[in-house]
Amino acid sequence: MSLAERAEGDPAATIAARELSKAFGGVQALRSASFAARRGEVHALVGENGAGKSTLIKILGGRLHADSGNVLLDGNAVRLGGPADAARRGIGTVFQELTLLPWMSVAENLLIGREPRSALGLIRRNALAGEAEAVLAGLGIHHIDPRALASEVSLAERQIVEVARVIVRQPRILLLDEPTSSLVEREVEWLFARIRELRARGTAIVFTSHRWNEITSVADRITIFRNGAEVGTFDAIDEDEAVTLMTGRRVEALYPPLPPVPSPAAPALQLEEAGVGDGGTVSLSVAAGEILGVGGLAGQGHRELFLGLFGAPPLARATIRIGGEPIVITCPADAIHAGLGIALVPEDRKTEGLLLPLSVRTNLTLPILAQLSRLGVIRGGAEARMSREIIDSLGIRTPNAAQPVGALSGGNQQKVLIGRWLLAQSRILLLYDVTRGVDIATKHEVYELMMRLARQGRAILFYSSDTEELTHLCHRVLVLSRGRIVAEFAPPALTAEAVVAAAIREPHAA
C-alpha cells in the first residue's frame, strides 16, 4: 500500500480540491477534504454512502459552493460561478441524480445549448432528431430513439443520454457520479470504452462507483473517502483493505450463505401468463422462504413485471395467486393492503418511490399509516418508535427522523425505501435493484437482511442489474428476454457466465 502525496502537493493535477469543507445545516458533508486528478487518468472516488463523494463532485462541477477551501484548476484557485461557468472552463459533470428534462425529447436534452441553428439564429427543431441520432451513433449508441421524450426511455437509457450529453461537449475534466448504478454489464462496457478513449486523449476522469470490479477494471488511481475527508489515494489496493479503510471496520465475506427453502415448498406467489411486453408471457412461482432471481438485460420486461405485480400499472391478462388464492391487483393500494403485502422498491427512487421533501419518518411509515392511526389520527409516539427502530437497524444515516429524505445521500435514500417495506411486514417482497447506489458495507447488510427475511418465510422476487448478486443471493434465477423466460438456473449451473450468455443469446426463430 503506497500512500500518494497529499493532493495540494500534486503538481500534475488538472483539477484539485484543497481542504474543502461543506455543511448542510447540522450535517458536515465535507471536512477539509482534498483530492486531485491528473490529465489522462481515470480516478475512482470510493467511500460509504454519505461519505461526501457527491458533495465533492457537486463543488468541483460548480453546482455547490464550499464553505471553505479552494477548487484548483491547473494549480490556480478558481471560483466557479455555476455549472455553466464550470462547463466553460472545460469541466463536464454527470450528477448522481439525473438532470434530463422529462417532457423534452432525448434530442432536445442531448443538444441543449448547442442546438443546430438557422441563419437567423433560431433553433432548427426539425433538424434536432437527425443531429442527435448522428451524435449518438458517433458514440456507439444506436438503441435510443432521439424523438422519444426523456420520460419515455428507461432509466439506463436516460443515464446513457446524460453521459453522452456531457461527453460530446468534449470536457477536459469529466466528473461522473455513479454513472453505472443503473447500467447492466453491456452498457457498463460501453461506458468504459468511452472512458478509455477519453483518457487516451488526455481527459482527466473522476468517477464514483460502489461496484469494486468496475473500479479495478478501469481506474488508474483510487481515492478513498470516509466521513467527509479523504483517507488516502492509491495506485492499487485490494478490496478488503479498501473496505476496511472506507468503513473503519472489516467486512466478512460479502455474500452470506443462503438458508434452505423449507420443504415441502409452499407457493407464496404464483403468476400465470402475465404479458410484460413484446408479446411474450411470463409464468413463475415463488415459495415461502425462497429467493427467486430474475436476470437478463435491462428493458426486457423486468420493470413491467415488477411494477405490474405491484399494480402500477396492473399486468395484462395475468392470473395472480397469493398463497394459492387467486387475487386481483388493480392498483398499489390493492397490493399493499388486501392482506397480501407485495412490496416493491422501485427503479427510480426520485420519481417513483420517495416523497423527497417529506421526512424520513413519513416516508417510512406511509404504507402503514392505517395501522398507526386511531380514528384517522396518527399516533405520533408509535410512528416515531417504529421509524426509529428501522433507522437504527438499517443504519440509515440521518441527523434525525424529521430530516427530509431529499437531503440524504443516495444510498441512505435507498435504505429508507427498503425500510418502508420491512415496517409494512410484507410477506412477499419484490426487490428491484435494491442495492443500486448502495455502498459495499451496506450491501452486505442488505444481503444479510434478505437472508433473514427468507428465513422468516417471506418470498422474495429479486431483480438486480448486477449479475454477481443474482448468482450469489438466489435459490433460482430466471432469465427474461423480450418479455419471455428463456432460461432457468439453479446451483450448480447457476453462474454469472451462464446467466449473461442466456440473456444475450438471440431467441430461436419462432
Partner: protein, 335 residues
Amino acid sequence: MPPDAAATLAARPQRRPRAAHVLGQNIGLVLAAAILLASAVVFTLMFVIQQQRLPGSFEITSTVNNTMPLAVAAIGQTVVVLTRGIDLSVGGVIDLTNALAAIFLAGSPLHMIVVSILVVLVGAGAGLVNGLLVGLGRLQPIVVTLATLSIFQGLAIRVLPQPGGSVPAGYTNLLVNPDAPTALIFLAVAILGWMALRRSRLGVELFAVGNDEAAAVALGVNALRTKIVAYSIAGALYAVAGLFLAANATSGDATTGNSYTLTSIVAVVLGGVSLFGGRGSAIGAICGAFITTMIVNILFYAHINPLYQAFYEGLFLVVAVVLGSLIGNLLRRRG
C-alpha cells in the same frame, strides 16, 4: 474514430414511427384544435337553424375581435405556466392598462404609438414586479400574483375611477376593424413570435425550468432570470390585451379586465398547456381562447339565460378537460 464494435449499443428492431411521437408530444394542441373545430361546427349548425343562413363576415369579425384580448392574455399566461408558475394578476394588469389607454390615447398617430408603447411597458413593469417577487423572494406564484392582482386593480381604479375616456376611431379600426377580421394579422404575428420564442435560447430555458427547475440549474440555466423574464413578457402581453379591450370597447373601464384572470387560465387549460409546467404551446392557448368565445356564442344561440352562463361554461370546461385527458391517456397507452 468509430467506436469498436464490442462497445456499441446495438439498435432495437422496431421503433415507434415518427408520426406517433409527433402526435403523442402534441396531443394537447391537437385536442384543443379538435375541440375548437367541434364547437365551431356546433355553433354554425345552431346559427344556420335559427338564421337560415351561414355565419358571414360580420359574425367572423366579431368573434375574432371579441377573442383578441383573451387570446393575447392567454399567450402571456402560457409563458408563465410553462415555467410552472401561474399568474392571477392578469385581470389587474388589464384593468390598469385598459384605463391608461382610455385616458391617454388621443391625438396624432405618433402620439398614439408612443402611448401604446408606454402602456405595454407599464404592463411589462407590472410583470417584472411579479417576477422579482416570485424569483428573488422565492414566494409561491399563486400568493404573489393574488396580492398584486388586488394592487393593480386598486391602481386602475385610481387612474380611472369612473368608466369613461375614449379611444379614437382610427385606433379601433387599426386593432379591431369592425368590418373585416383584420385582427387575424396580429394573431399571425403572435404565432410567429411564439414560434421564434420556441426556437430561441430563452424558449428552451422556459421549458427547461418548467420541466425540472433543479435539473435546469444543473444544466447551467439561470432559473431566476428566466422566471423574471417570463413574468415580464406576460405582463407586456396583458397590456396588449388591455389595448385590444380598450379598442374594442372604444372607452375604458377599470374593472372589465377582472374576468380575464379566470378565463386566461381556462383558455390555457383548454389549450393543453400543463399546469405542472414544461409542456404546452401558445397556439393551443389561442385555440383555448377561441373555444371560450365559441361557448359563449353557442350559449347565446341556445337562448340560455345569461345568469346561467357561468354555470354552463364551467360544465363545458370540466367535460372538455376530462375528455381531453381520457383521450390523451388512451393514445399514450397505444403508443
